[in-house]
């Protein structure tokens, strides 16, 4: 396994001195094996209040029907579908990190994939709750399934993107769950073998009897690779199909072929922003600075610049094509977006998604934790507005000027949205308490090749190119978890 050493030019993925395998287990399992600290409790109580608000708002919706929302005859989709697309988009980063980065052999995924995948699962749960509550009669949710029925076996409309979406989201959720849980087995076994009493019993059941022998590990890696291979087109298909919910309609502003790639880029953009929002806090509160390093943060920021710029180009292309197509409805839809009653939403979206992420071109900003965290939240806000702009501004002035109207959310709309954030954080905080937030086994793989201590040993052996070593030491400057004095001596 360490038959060769990693190039000194690559930045370390694990920092810190004299880290051992045992220490890695201890540090990562610290929040799982101990009582939670005050920061966790404060976060959990706030999140639980949000989740309660969600229960109240959704129950209210079920009791009184979706008339409780601010929808009207013209604007039939608003905060609900905005929230749905926002959450599904956020979910995409988890699969991208766990699957696409695995295919590209990006080892930095190893310390962030677990929590990113957990984020995916919880985000898709939040998205699914929107779909179900939007149905109005949620107890009939199974009608979206192609089941033989008593209406003369009248099947679902397989030509409809909404039916495709049901297939896409449910496949995405279950495949992500399988991928995540299979990856968790070795780590659950680690907890099991250190636990006692009831905890041991529970983790024994959850660990499926994992013992880490050669064949199981070898098959495990084969399975991970195949799952990554099939999840990659899956994740692209999911947001493509979500975009077809809009693109196959004949509403100006929706009826565009650019939607699939533009939605996928936007999903990755918002997903990475959410991963940063979560992990910058997690690494601080749980003391995981040595595993989620500045290199990870900078890499994610680079993906945010890339996908944010793709989104920006898509916005401009949409605008150009609206003019170039010569379709007056399309032209009006876009002029109305940027200068009509919802101009503030449009410019909010433009600022947050296109302009402010460009700040990440500056190294000082993308390696600054506070700035990165604020920008990640700005992106989350911007991406919410993007969906709001696409949905509401395209609908509120449709073909018939007599039915033109505005949209105002009710307290239920707002509460369902704020509440879904509470549900998400409640689930995420519970996850941090009961399961390891970093894939222990996968991070251990990096210790002998890609860690700071392994590279330091190589430098001390002294057979390396001096210039390359100087470059490497220079790259360590941005790390907040590296003590540069150790390198100054030589």
């Amino acid at each position: 396994m360490s038959g060769h050493n990693e190039s000194i030019l690559r930045e370390p993925l694990i920092t810190g001195k004299n880290i051992t395998y045992a220490q890695m287990t201890d540090e990562i399992l610290l929040p799982v094996e101990n009582k939670p600290n005050r920061a966790w409790w404060i976060g959990f109580i706030v999140a639980l209040c949000g989740a309660t608000l969600w229960v109240v708002a959704v129950s209210y919706t079920f009791w009184f029907g979706i008339g409780a929302w601010g929808l009207n005859k013209t604007v039939g989709w608003a905060w609900d579908i905005t929230g749905f697309v926002w959450w599904v988009g956020i979910g995409h980063a988890g699969t991208l990190i766990s699957a696409v980065l695995l295919l590209f052999r990006q080892n930095w995924r190893n310390s962030i994939n677990r929590s990113a995948e957990a984020m995916t699962i919880f985000a898709v749960i939040c998205a699914a709750t929107y779909v179900v509550s939007h149905m109005g009669r949620p107890w009939l949710a199974y009608w979206v399934l192609p089941l033989p029925n008593q209406f003369g076996s009248l099947w679902v409309n397989f030509n409809s993107p909404l039916v495709w979406d049901m297939f896409a989201i449910s496949t995405y959720f279950s495949v992500s769950l399988l991928f995540w849980y299979t990856g968790l087995l070795p780590d659950i076994a680690t907890i099991r073998d250190r636990a006692a009493g009831v905890r041991k019993k529970v983790y024994t059941i959850l660990s499926f009897g994992w013992n880490g022998n050669v064949k199981t590990w070898q098959r495990f890696e084969a399975v991970s690779l195949i799952l990554a291979g099939i999840s990659t087109p899956l994740v692209l298909s999911v947001h493509t199909i979500v975009s077809m919910d809009f693109a196959t309609s004949v509403i100006p502003g929706w009826h565009t072929t650019i939607f699939p790639p533009y939605f996928v880029a936007g999903a990755i953009f918002s997903g990475f922003a959410m991963v940063l929002t979560l992990l910058l806090v997690v690494r601080k509160v749980l003391g995981l600075e040595n595993y989620i390093t500045m290199f990870h943060i900078e890499s994610m920021n680079k993906i945010i610049i890339l996908t944010g710029s793709i989104v920006g180009v898509a916005y401009l292309t949409e605008f150009f094509i609206a003019w170039y197509s010569g379709s007056e409805y399309e032209q009006y839809a876009f002029i109305n977006r940027s200068t009509g009653p919802f101009w503030w939403a449009y410019w909010m979206m433009m600022t947050c998604n296109v302009i402010s992420p460009q700040l990440l071109w500056f190294k000082k900003i993308r390696t600054n934790i506070a700035a990165t965290w604020i920008l990640s939240i700005v992106v989350n806000i911007g991406m919410w507005f993007e969906r709001f702009v696409i949905i509401v501004t395209s609908l509120h002035r449709d073909y018939l000027p007599s039915s033109w109207t505005d949209f105002t959310p009710t307290w239920v709309d707002v509460s369902v949205f704020v509440g879904s954030i509470g549900v998400f954080f409640t689930l995420f905080l519970l996850f941090l308490r009961v399961l390891p937030s970093i894939a222990i086994a996968e991070v251990k793989l990096l210790l002998k090749s890609a860690s700071e201590q392994a590279k330091k040993e190589l430098i001390e052996e002294g057979h390396l190119d001096k210039e390359q070593v100087a470059d490497y030491v220079g790259s360590l400057e941005k790390f907040d978890s590296v003590n540069l004095e150790d390198y100054a001596k030589k």
Binding site: W155, N159, K215, T216, I226, S231, A441
Partner: protein, 178 residues
């Protein structure tokens, strides 16, 4: 004859453990299994674990999904309840590509993971067959069947020589059974 069932060489470093495997094999000592906290690349070749055929299984599960979806949609839209939509063909294949793709992935993933669990005997609640509790934490364990390999002193010596931090003589196969 002693009651020792298994001899365990407990290593703190994967490379030393690989060295230990080489040493044992040079002396014709058969290794029962190796337990590690992380995947070790290249070990399967040494221990003669065959290449996984899960990829082939995954392909056939996927194809099953493709065929299932296409035939279900064909039955629903063409045989059971054909609907005339603007005179278009009942079996409008391009419309059904997204869902066919999704079902291919779904069948492939569930079939693959199901076969993996079945072939490595993983299922909820299975009693873990663990020889050393630290094998999931920081130790790399080589297990040798003590009944089959009689020269216990030599095995101990080889393991220690390769860098084993500890050599255990277990009288029970699985210490995880209470």
């Amino acid at each position: 004859m002693s009651n020792i069932k298994y001899i365990l060489g407990s290593f703190g470093d994967p490379d030393e453990m690989m060295h230990g495997i080489d040493k044992l094999q040079e002396n014709n000592i058969k290794i029962h299994d190796v337990y590690t906290p992380m995947p070790i690349h290249g070990i399967e070749a040494k221990l003669g674990v065959k290449r996984s055929r899960l990829d082939i299984a995954a392909f056939f599960f996927g194809i099953t999904g493709t065929i299932t979806m296409l035939s279900c949609v064909f039955l629903a839209t063409t045989v059971d309840w054909p609907i005339n939509i603007g005179g278009k063909t009942h079996f409008a294949l391009p419309d059904f590509i997204p869902i066919t793709f999704e079902l291919t992935i779904l069948f492939c993933a569930f079939g693959l993971v199901g076969s993996y669990y079945a072939s490595t005997h993983l299922f909820p609640g299975r009693a873990p067959r663990v020889m050393d509790l630290r094998a999931t934490n920081d130790r790399f364990i080589i297990a040798i069947d003590a009944k089959e390999n009689a020269e216990h002193a030599k095995i101990d010596e080889l393991l220690k020589g390769a860098g084993a931090l500890e050599v255990k003589h277990n009288e029970r196969k699985y210490i995880s059974y209470e």
